[in-house]
Amino acid sequence: MRTSEDSGRPRKIIHLDCDCFYAAVEMRDDPTLRQVPLAVGGAGGRGVVTTCNYLAREYGIRSAMPGSEARRRCPNLVTVPTDMPRYKAVSKQVMTLFRELTDRLEPLSLDEAFLDVTDVTDHHGSATLMAEYLRERVRREIGITVSAGVAPNKFLAKVASDWNKPDGLHVVTPDDVPAFVQALSVDRLFGVGPVTARRLKEMNVSTCGDLQAVAPDRLVAAFGKQGIRLHEMAYGRDDRPVVVTRQAKSVSVERTFDRDLPDYPACESMLATLAEDLRNRLARRPRERPIHKLFIKIRYSDFSTHTLERVRPDVQAPEGDDFRPLLDAIYPDDARPVRLLGLGVRFREDHAPRQQLSLF
């Protein structure tokens, strides 16, 4: 089993998957759509359904089904056109929220991502609590639901997130793995589509338990390189790392308050706590680039949102006081209720060495 770097511990991977993402965004923005079978896309004669809500799924409607077929199955199906810019914007919010927990994030698409939380110490280091926390925050702050799977690797985490969908969580601990895979249907495996599933069926293989009984060289003979993968997955093994392609340009934390902060002193009193959250987030990431700027984000009760940033290359671990000048500059002269307050740092974008070391 692949372990986190040098530590020897099993990894903790969370797979997060937004439930019927496009449809969820549409239902969030127009609650009347919640009560009806809804398909996104597929309105025209030739278009296909990109996503549909769970009511529509009860009629047997699936992604990639032609719109005409969908309407045949469900004559009162409501169809809305796809609005990619809006989904992308929501996706960005979701990913940003995930990144507050860790930067070791690999997005798979707009609506799903793997997180490697092995080294995250928040929530007592419990990946289960982290997954619940992220699900809750997305529900509360973004207004859609997310299903999550927690497991020691990507393959199992992805299977697990599908286990209790929608709006569910499933955890596969390292100890659970043997039992979990024993009964796992092979069509749940990565790369096993209808064709491979049929050929496995012909070999009398329908669960991973069955698959374990097949000699690896037989699998290789039948499926080539994929055979080795199948053998590994049959035992719940998957060494693929969470691939972090993006290097964070900034790190920030923000908080939406249950009750608006009424005035400047109330905002000021939050700086230290937010800065501490920020430092914790910064401490979790490898510091390959130094801080270049500090910024503050403020959203008033009327939802108008403002940000301000200042160059502060001297800061290493920002304190609440470091943000006071920004708050002073951004907060208006008259008291204005604040709904959200955020603090962040932006990193330098050049790779040049900066910090001169000393002889003595």
């Binding site: 270049h292 330098r348 974008e349 050049d350 790779h351 040049a352 060495p353 900066r354 910090q355 001169q356 070391l357 000393s358 002889l359 003595f360």
Partner: protein, 367 residues
Amino acid sequence: MKLTISRESLLAPLQSITGVVERKQTMPVLSNVLLVADDDSLTLTGTNMEVELVGRIQPVHVDQPGRITVPARKLSDICRALGEEAPIELALEGDRLHLRSGASHFTLSTLPAEHFPNVEEDAESFRLEIPQKDVRHMLEATGFAMAQQDVRYYLNGLLLEVSPDNLRAVATDGHRLALSGLDMATGIEEPRQLIVPRKGVMELVRLLDDVATPATLVFGDNHLRVTAGAYTFTSKLIEGRFPDYNRVIPRGGDKQMVADRATLKNTLQRAGILSHENIRGVRLNLTPGQLQIFANNPDQEQAEDALSVDYDGEELQIGFNVGYLVDVLNAVDEDQVLMTLSDANSSALMQAQHDEKSLYVVMPMRL
């Protein structure tokens, strides 16, 4: 006081002495040069209270001996601007010094000679006679590494260390260090250390010529006095303890690279153009046979350059202030330079490939 002197014999010492006099002075008399006319000589003195330079011109036609101080820079500027033909007559009339040369006539303000501060006399403890060029070379090889206005005041100067069989100069600003030694029998038994302030080192380099004629270095408890030709230079010493430089000279470097000094310097300077203008960090990537140099700045501009080097060790990435490396390459006076490294966070040792007299230590920048 009244005397006549040729422009050329006055100008050179006057300009040297004006160098010691600082532009901004709290005491007006410190802007002045002290002129002392004796039977057949004129002595000029400038000081900033830390460093004093005395130049003696002889023979001079003196009609009337005397002592007076006049604004140094103005007198120097006038002499430089005068034609070469006519001699210069200096005459004190009342409290004004009249300078006449051909049709030119200048009247300068004066301050009494008694107001001019004397560098206090200091008991001599020992003296060394060394060819001027050797002293000069030693100071040039190390002086650039002195700190400027560092709160560790003892770094704003140059350490002279006299041992029974050698003299060493060491300078460091805490980021890089330069050391140059001269083997000689000094005649002293116990090693001595003294720190010459930055200003004194700069003036001394200017004063010493590239000649074998000896300079006399007289060491006192609080002063260093150097006599070379017609000049006597005195500098106060910095009190304080210089850091133990031996401790920071790296011994464990296992990666040795030899490069052509001029090529390395040019490559560094080219890449350095696109380094951050104040921080000046560059990345060096050393691989067998090749050294690559990368620079980039906050405007996202990038430089990438490379040169062939003699190296067959492990690959190493290390960051440096490009200015520190170029300073060393300017000071090394051989064609090939040897650089010894160990890892990205440890200092580099640099020296001329075949010259052990001088060595340089440069701390890297964190990548």
